[in-house]
Symmetry: C2
Subunit: 415 residues, 2 copies
């Protein structure tokens, strides 16, 4: 793994230089990258075609093939994303706070980049460019470790980006790719404590858990969402139905999609009457507790204990009935992954209780959990959604890719 250590060293060194770039210099580098990606689209498409051919041969499903696939339009969109990152405000250098001490010391708390950000992700070549752009804009160097399936596409994209960086006088080691896609290379990256300031895994639950369990470098856990929609007894039934439909069906595979409906017994039948139309249309599989199975008969399967903790990522919905808000809060607290939770009610007091007492990154009153997203929050971009409480929680924009330092100005003070 001596090669990886060299990569780490070079990234650390580059991070010191990138941290000192002005906003204009970083933006110039981002525009250069965007232009290079479109100008060299042929090469990138050719590399991607090889990845696709190999993936097809190995029997990859069409939906995964589609995530791997680049087209000229997609490349344009990716390049536009890089330009959009350039347009975002630069978080680096902000004076977060400045104060003086009785002994005359002046202390400035200044926002600085994190340093070296490592990202382990799966087979989506757009992540390679998105992540590099956000890291660069926030003054960080990045070490990327993508999946085997996209390796040719990733090598090509990183080559284009590094050439573009060098072309504008920025240390090309600000963006590095680990070309070795073995488990060993990922594992070694998780222990590169001397050079990596934070590791962000992006992908499925298996990837994230293995990183959390294995890594000794600081990790931000992202994107596990067993999200609940709680339809309280005083809910506007029609609004509740619309919100649940959106939260469950608009994009079932994403982490902010709802997995479990928590339904007050007092309105269970009324709500199901309202919602059954779209549930049937969507061929939504229902897994309910005994009360739900009593109401719905064979339309619902009986839920097992495991269902309450499952992120289906699919057109399946667990349905739990409760008597009152205490039971709802208790149930959700027991099963939340700390991502996004919603209450639908017209009762302001109950809404306030839910918002206060539920411990999750995002808590909603009368809105869909699908809004937990950097773009929807107005952050302009996101590198992931943190489901831990350390460092960053919820959608992570540029500010979440920074740390701070204290600058202390003295006149000879000693303690």
């Amino acid at each position: 793994m001596s090669e990886l250590i060299e990569t780490g060293k070079a990234a650390k060194r580059a991070s010191r230089a990138v941290a000192l770039l002005t906003t204009e210099e970083k933006n110039r580098a981002l525009y250069a990258i965007a232009d290079a990606l479109t100008e060299k689209a042929e090469a990138w498409l050719a590399a991607n075609a090889e990845d696709l051919a190999e993936a097809e041969k190995s029997g990859m499903s069409e939906s995964l093939l589609d995530r791997l696939r680049l087209t000229r339009e997609r490349i344009e969109k990716i390049a536009d994303g890089v330009r959009a990152a350039a347009e975002l405000p630069d978080p680096v250098g902000e004076t977060i706070r400045e104060w003086s001490r009785p002994n005359g010391l002046v202390i400035i708390k200044r926002r600085v980049p994190l340093g070296v950000i490592a990202i382990i992700y799966e087979a989506r070549p757009n992540v390679t460019v998105d992540a590099a752009a956000l890291c660069l804009k926030s003054g960080n160097a990045c070490i990327l470790r993508g999946g085997r399936e996209a390796i040719r596409s990733n090598i090509c994209a990183v080559k284009i980006m590094r050439e573009a960086l060098a072309g504008v006088g920025v240390d090309e080691n600000a963006v590095s790719l680990i070309e070795d896609t073995s488990r060993e290379s990922a594992r070694a990256l998780m222990h590169l404590n001397d050079y990596v300031d934070v590791l962000i895994p992006r992908g499925g639950r298996g990837l994230i858990r293995s990183v959390v369990n294995e890594a000794s470098v600081p990790v931000i856990r992202t994107g596990e969402g067993v999200c609940h929609v709680y339809v309280e007894s005083e809910a506007d039934i029609s609004m509740a139905s619309d919100i649940l439909r959106n939260a469950k069906c608009s994009r079932p595979s994403v982490c902010n999609a709802a997995e479990c409906l928590v339904l007050d017994k007092a309105i269970a039948e009324a709500f199901l009457n309202e919602a059954m139309g779209w549930m049937d249309d969507a061929h939504l599989e229902l897994r309910g507790d005994s009360k739900i199975c009593n109401i719905l008969g064979t339309r619902a399967k009986e839920a097992t204990e495991e269902d309450w903790d499952t992120e289906y990522g699919d057109l399946i919905l667990a349905v739990k009935t409760v008597r009152g808000i205490d039971e709802a809060i208790e149930f959700i607290s027991e099963h939340t992954t700390g991502h996004s939770e919603a209450i639908i009610t017209e009762n302001a007091g109950k809404a306030a209780r839910f918002m206060n007492e539920i411990d999750a990154a995002a808590v909603y009153h009368n809105a869909s959990t699908r809004f937990t997203d950097g773009g929807e929050f107005g952050f302009g971009a996101e590198i992931g959604i943190s489901t831990q409480k350390l460092h960053a929680r919820g959608p992570m924009g540029l500010e979440e890719l920074t740390s701070w330092k204290y600058l202390i100005e003295g006149k000879g003070q000693v303690r």
Copy 2:
């Protein structure tokens, strides 16, 4: 380790209740704890006497015995520390930011407690109370895992604190102690991901490294300090000598003490002339590069490569000469632990370069590194000094023991 899981579950449940306490309720609990500690001082002293007797038998050094020892005065001081925590502003509940989106959603970013904070520490019984008080004030539950040497003192202190909590109607599981002081219990705590939101190790380098390497729960790395004082060619020599003396000798065992003097060659002899008096008085051992050994002869030993990365915690100083600020920044960047670094110079431009380019929690111009401390920064208290960039950097006060959540208020919005 099923007992530990029960402790974790109980702490998690308590953390939900503690997070909802008002400032007044938390303060009442803190005053109750402070009063109980002084009222029951006899019991605590008796438990401590047993720890001391055992430690003496096992041959503990007098300086370590002194850290373990409680006296009535020390207990008064510890209790006053708890009362001081009550007087600090409550960070919880603050609206960090509030904004609306074009679709009408109102988003509030609110400061909330981290949840359950685990602390692994060594043989200082005061940490047991200090840490519990700061966690409680910031709305967190804590799980404490102290060292074997102080176990009887810790059991007694936690019993007193839990009784005091119960007496004012607060869930006593807000403060828990792991009484099993085996390595296995510490290791199990490091993997209690379902219940622990952050683990803070407090102690020597060995403890901190083993936690960083082993833990799968989020960790904040604290207190490793190879701190440099860089005496630049345009330094006020007398000021530089005073600052170095304070940084090195005022308390050599602490993490913000200087370990290495970086000396511009242009002023090396002048500086050493100025400083040699107090260096001799302090019996300060010097380990220098060849230039230093040439100047000082047998007064300095020759430094090895290892010296540049050693936190002596003792009256030993490594001395490196450099030619100009570039070489100084390069050398310090190579060997910094990211704790505290100082430049002494009358040249504002060089000072600014140093402050910008050195990547450490605290960078000083013309002041001693010894000021890196929650109290000295005006935070009122500190739970440790973070040397990582994730979550918190530098002295960690109450605000660093919090996270945030997003509260989103809608009127039926879907995406």
